[in-house]
Amino acid sequence: MCGIAGIIYRDGGGERQVGRDMTAMLQAMKHRGPDSTGYALYRPAGDGYVMHVKLAESNGHHDFDLAEKLRRQRTDVEGRMRSLGADIADIQGPSDHAMTVTFGYDGDLKQLADYVEDVRGTEVLSLGKTLEIVKDLGDAKTVAEDYGLDKFIGTHAIGHARMATESDVDIANAHPYWAYPFPDVAVVHNGQLTNYHQWKRRLERAGHRFQSECDSEIIAVYLAERMAQGDSLEESMQRSLDELDGVFTYICVTEDALGVAKDELGAKPLVLYESDDIVALASEEIAIRKVVDREIETYDPYEGAVMVWTR
């Protein structure tokens, strides 16, 4: 089932409490998926990069020396980043199994992400100048509290409340997906892809690596690869309707745009609200009403719809 949501402010780079708004939207759709909650949030562009790293599964096998292991992993990640020439400005640990690194870097991002991921048990959740992906088990309120998202100021965001159907309940299989290793691209998806294995093999042959067993990760990497080859976000999404099989509604975000696509059967829900200063979309109107608290004109985009908004 799953609930997806997206929000983009259009009043000229206005920075809002996007973390708080997205939490309210996802919490309203908790009944669509209480297993895990994820956010892809965009902050105003700073000088350096921000990397979110998962060190261990929060519901994984916790033995007595877990704390020591996590400490070693942190040191290892930090050491590897410095050895590749990253200029680390700040390291935060929102929870004991996650770390957020702010750093300056001018080398190859894929090389850096690969090297960090080679530390046993770690996974790079996101890496970008403006993108931050936060995902963990539990509902939106729990995750937002753990990671202090109510204070997140930004320009646009997407979110996902997951009901696990095709793969495990853990952080690796939670949405949103970062388009590894393309910076600042993320996707949330509600649906199932039926040609997942074909695309996974094709993209793996092209040199991409996947962090999960989840079909939705394909969409993120697929779109980012099309864009890297010169297509616009809209062209890439349009093409995905022909090349990806299954039922889906997905939202893709980049540094300055937010796009949504629906499969040709229109099998998965999406409600859209557009006004001069905000575009909000979600699986259910009740989520949109949490950020626009009045009677509003909304509609369901039709099958095969591809729509893109820029901030």
């Binding site: 829900p269 109107e285 009677e295 004109e297 039709y302 099958e303």
Partner: protein, 261 residues
């Protein structure tokens, strides 16, 4: 009261409503009543509505601030008038038999699902599956509808002033749909019977859906429905019916065959 209204801290499925007492908040004025749903849970709104209709003998209920919540006004089996001042979420006024419902807003998926009789008028748009498995009554949507409108429809009339999405009238078995705008691909796919009227463009007909012959009865029906709901002059429609080629209508069920042979 404090104890039951305390916040539920853990609720993995998001469904817990610990108290289902009737809130008794409506202002009743003779045969009509009104209440504000803003601070009520879904279950309390429905409990209050049922109290008014079944116990207080109220004939005309107005509900303010439904705030796009799901499953409101479901299963009312009595003639009455219900007005929602705002939008509903999914499964609005499903399984009803008798009420005249006016929704001054939008509805989500599966509005008036399995309605037996009554009238539902929606001033704005509707999501997918509007009038799914409709058995009787009229469903009028003044805006656009999503995909699979009237899927498995078994009776009644669906009237849409705007456009409709893909697979409109999918597997319908009886009843009528009058769509004033354009429709998406797969119109009337796998329909058994019933009639679809479309005024706008049809993107593609579904399997075994063919254009039907227009009769005076069709003109009379459309003019009557437009007159009842005050929708002005009807546009020019095309009629689509089942081609009766997909299913074998001549073959007998195994039980029937036994009787004949």
């Amino acid at each position: 009261m404090d104890a039951v209204e305390a916040e539920v801290l853990f609720d993995a499925r998001g469904l817990v409503e610990l108290d289902d007492s009737v809130p008794n908040v409506a202002e009743i004025d003779g045969e009509s009543a009104q209440f504000d749903a803003k601070d009520l849970t879904t279950r309390k709104i429905n409990a209050e509505l049922r109290r008014l209709v079944y116990e207080e003998g109220v004939k005309d209920v107005t509900i303010l601030n439904p705030s796009a919540r799901h499953s409101l006004g479901v299963g009312i089996l009595q003639r009455c008038r219900i007005t929602f001042e705002g939008s509903l979420g999914y499964f609005g006024v499903g399984l009803i038999d008798g009420p005249e419902v006016q929704i001054n807003g939008r509805v989500g998926w599966s509005v008036a699902e399995n309605m037996m009789s009554g009238v539902v008028v929606i001033e704005s748009n509707a999501g997918s599956l509007a009038g799914a498995a409709l058995r009787g009554g009229d469903l009028v949507v003044k805006g656009q509808v999503g995909a699979r409108t009237g899927i498995d429809q078994k009776g009644g009339t669906i009237l849409v002033m705007g456009d409709a999405g893909s697979m409109t009238g999918f597997m319908m078995q009886r009843g009528r749909q009058i769509i004033c705008g354009d429709v998406g691909p797969g119109l009337g796919d796998s329909m058994y019977d019933g009639t679809l009227y479309v005024a706008g463009k049809v993107k593609a007909l579904g399997i075994d859906c063919v254009e039907g012959e227009w009769t005076d009865a069709d003109t009379e029906l459309i003019q009557r429905k437009f007159r009842i709901y005050g929708l002005g002059d009807p546009p020019q429609f095309h009629k689509f019916v089942c081609g009766k080629k997909l299913y074998n209508y001549d073959s007998l069920e195994p039980s029937e065959r036994k009787l004949v042979l």
